[in-house]
């Protein structure tokens, strides 16, 4: 048994098994997040949410997926069919492959790159391409408007997203996520969220904007442009776009938990679970995901100019100021 595990631990097989595991995790994560989103919405709005399929509605994702698979996959008659069909894939794959660099415990990371944070930033910047493809390929005015909004928003909020990671990179002196987490060992007071609290808030808000969630969901804006770049999609292509959005939200939670909240490190030193430390990573990521949903059902949507002003006039200068504070602190002490 162990010899077989050792055989699987060799390089090509380890990568293939890890890739399959990550794809499985990403797809299931988005299915479960759809259900938890609806449940959270229900409880916040004083109703039950889905509660018919299975105990307390827990099997709802299964029913949703079956329903999506049986629906017809329509496309507009004048659509640019190749781009239209490639867009959901171009949105999903980047999210899935960034999960490869996220460390679940010290040894369970598929690709332990020494530039993992740079890789994360680079892959995130591709996400705007999928949105533009979806909007252009649909040949619909609403889609194009939504895509232009989405691309503008994602490009703008990429700047504070990158800047807010720089503080942690400066303290750690490494771009590797494993090194970042190892630098936060020894209890919750060593987590980077405390010295980098403004950076944490900036990264958190930029992450919400990158995941295109309320209050930054202008690209979808169902009351004005009836769903934005995904208005023409149906069936499983729509399902794939939704999956990539929810998986992107899960990914941002995972990165927040890894970079600022200590990743797999237990909150108190005696709570060390050894190889089961992924439990702490999962708990932290799940709590961040819940706060994303909490915000979604609590605050109204911003206006487009407010969105841009907030990104460029509040988040970017704030990140720059705290960058200088961090640099000064490191130079003096």
């Amino acid at each position: 048994m162990f010899s077989f595990l050792d055989f699987l631990n060799q390089e090509p097989f380890r990568f293939i098994v890890g890739l399959a595991g990550v794809l499985f995790l990403t797809l299931n994560l988005s299915a479960i997040l759809v259900m938890s989103e609806r449940k959270t919405a229900g409880y916040i709005q004083l109703r039950y949410g889905p509660n018919r399929v299975g105990p307390r509605g827990l099997f709802q994702p299964l029913a949703d997926i079956l329903k999506l698979f049986t629906k017809e996959n329509l496309s507009p008659a004048r659509a640019d069919l190749w781009i239209f069909l490639a867009a959901p894939i171009a949105m999903f794959i980047p999210v899935a492959i960034v999960w490869m660099t996220v460390p679940f415990t010290e040894r369970s990371v598929i690709a332990d790159m020494n530039i993992a944070l740079l890789f994360f930033v680079a892959i995130t910047s591709i996400g705007a391409l999928g949105v533009i493809m979806a909007g252009y390929g649909s040949r619909s005015t609403f889609s194009l408007l939504g895509a232009l909004r989405g691309a503008a928003q994602m490009i703008s909020y990429e700047v504070p997203l990158i800047l807010s990671l720089l503080g942690v990179i400066m303290i750690t002196g490494s771009l590797s996520l494993v090194d970042v987490v190892n630098g936060q060992s020894g209890g919750f007071w060593h987590w980077y969220v405390w010295p980098q609290l403004p950076m944490f808030l900036i990264f958190y808000m930029s992450a919400i904007a990158e995941a295109k969630r309320v209050p930054f969901d202008l690209p979808e804006g169902e009351s004005e442009i009836v769903g934005g770049y995904m208005v023409e999609y149906s069936g499983m292509t729509w399902g794939l776009i939704q999956a990539s959005e929810f998986a992107g939200m899960g990914l941002m939670s995972g990165i927040v938990a890894t970079v600022f909240l200590g990743g797999w490190q237990p909150p108190l030193p005696f709570m060390d679970l050894g190889v089961f430390n992924w439990f702490w990573f999962g708990m932290k990521a799940a709590i961040i995901m819940f706060t994303f949903q909490w915000i979604r059902w609590s605050v109204p949507r911003l206006r487009m100019d407010q969105l841009m002003d907030f990104g460029w006039k509040v988040l970017v200068p704030g990140a720059l100021i705290w960058l200088f504070v961090t640099a000064a602190w490191m130079a003096i002490f």
Partner: protein, 174 residues
């Protein structure tokens, strides 16, 4: 390794041909991002993941998106006919491409690579950054180039702000 190389080479070449041959200019831009992805794959294969990440970040994430924005804001993307694609510049283009390829092949074959294998050399991000800032013992010219690039970007940012600024006072006077 060979399989990965063949896959990446085919992907890069087919996408590059798609850039010049496709009839829709948006398709050309998207094919170009595919070619850039292929080049990034080559960098990964050569044990230079930092270069691959920069390739993705700058070329796929920024340049292609900027081009798509430019196309969508300026004109309605229209289908061209093959007659306009294969215009009389096709022979000049072929000559330039072949000449460039010949020069590259010449230098690659003439140069004695010895026992150099991909992955050697200062490819750690830390060494790279220190060399770029002129404190790592590398050529000092990199630090100067770094400063020049920073000044250039700063000028570009200021120019963008000046151009896109709302001229409230001017409009009130007019």
């Amino acid at each position: 390794m060979i399989v990965a190389y063949i896959f990446l080479a085919c992907m890069t070449l087919i996408c590059a041909l798609g850039v010049v041959l496709s009839r829709n200019i948006v398709h050309s831009a998207l094919f170009m991002s595919g070619a850039f992805l292929g080049v990034a794959g080559f960098f990964v294969m050569l044990n230079a993941p930092a270069l691959a990440a920069f390739q993705l970040l700058i070329y796929v994430g920024a340049v292609t998106v900027l081009m798509l924005f430019g196309i969508m804001f300026t004109q309605r993307p229209s289908a061209r006919s093959f007659a306009t694609i294969l215009n009389r510049q096709v022979w000049a283009g072929l000559a330039v491409a072949l000449g460039f390829g010949a020069v590259l092949s010449y230098f690659l074959t003439v140069q004695d690579w010895g026992s150099v294998s991909p992955g050697n050399g200062p490819r750690q991000m830390q060494t790279f950054g220190e060399n770029l800032l002129g404190v790592g013992g590398g050529p000092q010219i990199f630090a100067l180039l770094f400063q020049v690039a920073a000044v250039l970007l700063f000028v570009a940012i200021v120019a963008a702000i000046v151009i896109s600024r709302r001229r409230d006072a001017d409009q009130e006077e007019a």
